[in-house]
Symmetry: none
Subunit: 243 residues, 2 copies
Amino acid sequence: MPTNKQPRYLQIANLLRQLIAKGSHAVGTLLPTEQQLCDRYRISRHTVREALRILEQDQMVVRRQGSGTMVIAPARRSFNHNISSVADMLQYATNSRLLVVSSTRIRADDSLANLIDCKAGTDYVHIHALRSVEKGGTPFCISDIYRVAGNDEITKRLLAVSDTIYALIDELALDQISTVEQKISATTLTAANANVLRVPKSSVGLKIVRRYMDANNQLILAAVNLHPGANFQYSMTLKHHKK
Amino acid sequence: MPTNKQPRYLQIANLLRQLIAKGSHAVGTLLPTEQQLCDRYRISRHTVREALRILEQDQMVVRRQGSGTMVIAPARRSFNHNISSVADMLQYATNSRLLVVSSTRIRADDSLANLIDCKAGTDYVHIHALRSVEKGGTPFCISDIYRVAGNDEITKRLLAVSDTIYALIDELALDQISTVEQKISATTLTAANANVLRVPKSSVGLKIVRRYMDANNQLILAAVNLHPGANFQYSMTLKHHKK
DNA sequence: GGTGTTAATTTGTCCGGACATATTTATGGC
DNA sequence: GCCATAAATATGTCCGGACAAATTAACACC
């Protein structure tokens, strides 16, 4: 017997994964019952359930009381959106213009801490801006960008921006970004925001909160975007990443 | 005493969630040990571990052998799960239930063609369903699923579904899906839909249109999901894929 | 033949116990 | 004080059993 370093339930889980991948248990069919697996591998039901729980978390099987455990995927598949261009994620797209309204240093209160999930009391550079297709055109987005403030050069430059922000993209250490978390919700626009976006009072809006983090899961940048709901549509495409 | 319908371990999990939210267990501190929780709530260690497992999945705590269970977040990280697999996209698994209201054969008109970007005049199976956390609970999603209709076996089965849709997973050729396109927008709920979702009349809603395509970019399935905007937040995490 | 009821099957919940392994704390020796 | 060792602590793994709840299959009935 080889080194039994791996716990038994993990061994069973991997074994089942292999069997499924090999086609011994086709998608749409039921796996052996827990009792059968107990007998076959001489393990307790607890261990079997622990193994099946893993496959369930991997989204390879669905379990239904009274029915059984059905295979729904031949392997753990993932749709990894490849962030090819960070600029894309930040929506610095070419045909949109960002007009900076204000850039100030603020201290995060509970409200902001809750919004972008940061620590209250920390200092941030807050850039309030509008996005529009043409210069001077009707804005299609109200954008609030937050970055941790310090005494560094970048902070100073950010506070100094007045019109365009293009030049600062590279300063933001965007290439260090490893994870982008995005939360989307629908809200009713405030009177002020509706006015800015030139839409009727109390129309609906799409709120997109993005948090950009580095490999250590440290928050680098956060952006809150507010779009008019009527004529704005957020779309994305996820491709299956073969492994 | 209210209805003890919920299993014990879920009750404990919710209780601990509340205690953490209330501040009784601050972020960064250790929860009581498993044994202490056993004694306190008069339950077995198995039940305690089942409850803690939930909090761990919610990313509210981290567990370390020999050390203990530490609180790392005051609330669930995200209300909705992350998009990382096909099953996630279809929202099959997890603890949400899909209740099929109707399943009919329709001919795509211009309106539908525009909505899911298909060819008008084609026949589709239209499944109208509600999604809720618990069976019979308030739905958090109105779901409309469309699939090309033919004279094949799958079409017949889809038209026959009345309650659960689990058994049809394999029929839908989900493992052939290569690309998922997603469009998100904010709208005002119709009176009827607001009523179904149990929210005030003309509140805001989040509309998510998903199109599932195979490697040849052929539309396999389309789903239109409508969520209440007030208490629903769509969240996703994108990880940068090195290489 | 369809229909409602019962029985069998299968996963879900919950309990008890035992030992392993990782971590922290206490202990001694220097 | 520092460091290695031992003891205590806490979670991880695994077993056994029992009953509940959901589903499916079998069956009697009209």
